[in-house]
Amino acid sequence: MNLRAAPNFRAIWAIYRVEMARAFRTVLQSIISPVISTSLYFVVFGSAIGSRITEIDGIAYGAFIVPGLMMLSLLTQSISNASFAIYFPKFVGSIYELLSAPVSYLEIIIAYVGGAATKSVMLGLIILATAALFVPLRIEHPFWMIAFLVLTAVTFSLFGFIIGIWAKTFEQLQLVPLLIVTPLTFLGGSFYSIHMLPGIWKTITLFNPVVYLISGFRWSFYGKADVSVGVSLGMTVMFLAICIAIVAWIFKTGYRLRN
């Protein structure tokens, strides 16, 4: 292998830095607004409604919803960060530079998805810190908490990247997060245990992939889960594998990038 064929780490770093710079440039949108919306959830669900629910599975309701809230933001922000990051250059045309640069598809993915996932993880931790101001928290399995956090951020950043490449309009860019991801997250047990649902709905809910993410993530906090942790992990990894397969196909065919 000659030197020229070596990985272009400088390109990964260049893209990653631009992505991170954008987050800090738009601090209000990327960091402050999720903090505000999380606080609102705590006021509405945690205090107003939560005061009547008291506890689920032996966990105070306010604390119970923290992992779900983190997942809610993690999912939507990972998708919107990554999809916007690749859609925007496509939209304004500046993607020509990326396509004409000596970078491999893998490097492009690592840089963009890495940037989006980093921002999401940071956001998740900020929400966690915000939540700690409202409710007493405990994290029984910190390693798994971080593992789920990172795995989910990467998976959904990858998913967002796919949406960003697929989307031809800003409307399409918003469509999947709005019509699919948000409902799935709300119905995925962010605010309740799926054991609380009546029979048939409990079964239907098991087809919702987000259930596994939230359940596994909540287990890492409180040691209680709706479905077994192994299944949660397996489902997350499976979704990651599906995203990787789609991305591999996109890059093999040049789909909507190089026509």
């Binding site: 000659n2 064929a5 400088r10 530079e97 000596p102 970078v103 190089r258």
Partner: protein, 308 residues
Amino acid sequence: MSSIISISGVTKTYATGFKALKEINLDIERGEIFALLGPNGAGKTTLISIVCGIVNRSSGTVTVDGHDIGRDYRAARSLIGLVPQELTIDAFETVWATVNYSRGLFGKAPNKEFVEKVLRDLSLWEKKDSKAITLSGGMKRRLMIAKALSHEPRVLFLDEPTAGVDVELRQDMWAMVRRLREDGVTIILTTHYIEEAEAMADRVGVINKGEIILVEGKAELMRKLGRKQMNLELRAPLAAVPDGLSHYSLELSDDGNQLTYTYDNQSDRPGVASLIRDLEAAGVQFRDLDTKNSSLEEIFVNLLRQEP
């Protein structure tokens, strides 16, 4: 091997079935300025985009300094700088950030001195902390060039570089192109402003409807396909070309004051001397005379006209 870019048998058919390129074969010599001429939609941008890796070719091979653009894309692309036609920049980045980004993207180690030099050469240094969105159109064009030069390319593509550009920038740009050429950079520019090719290029290629219809040295092209015209300003207007001169291809202006003789300057017997003798014999007197070569533009228009 003297050619730096070698394009052979390249075709491009878009998904819509549109054949943008039909069998392109073209070699670009190392260190030359090559002008690719053609009307809008001829396939100029498609061809450039294929060489630069932005568009996938349907068939054929392209090598850049011996590196195949498919198999060995890293080596091939790292040699190329591209200034596209459209002004497409991330509007929220500063000039400094975006030019350094371009350098990094092409795998070059950071080099502040070099980037500073590029910005100074393009009169962008004072604007280095401005966001791209605040720049004027001309400044944005300079920025696009700075980005392309930031990674020290050996081949520079300029796609319609002077479309909608003011005189000052155009002159700066031409001066820059000459400087780059002195440094051994190969330059390929597409244009439909023929004066540009006429002023700058060593060689000219004409592309029309996805086919290269001609590649020639500019000087040879103008000599071969160029025609010469001699204009004679008459002392007294003529009503018609005198009978004794009808075997020359003469044209009389509407007011009868000017006689134009068109001839092939390659010919051994262009007939200029005999025409002047015959004019005298016919009693036609002239005050002044000038000759001119047809411009590249006229050659170009004639070429396209000959196309079916």
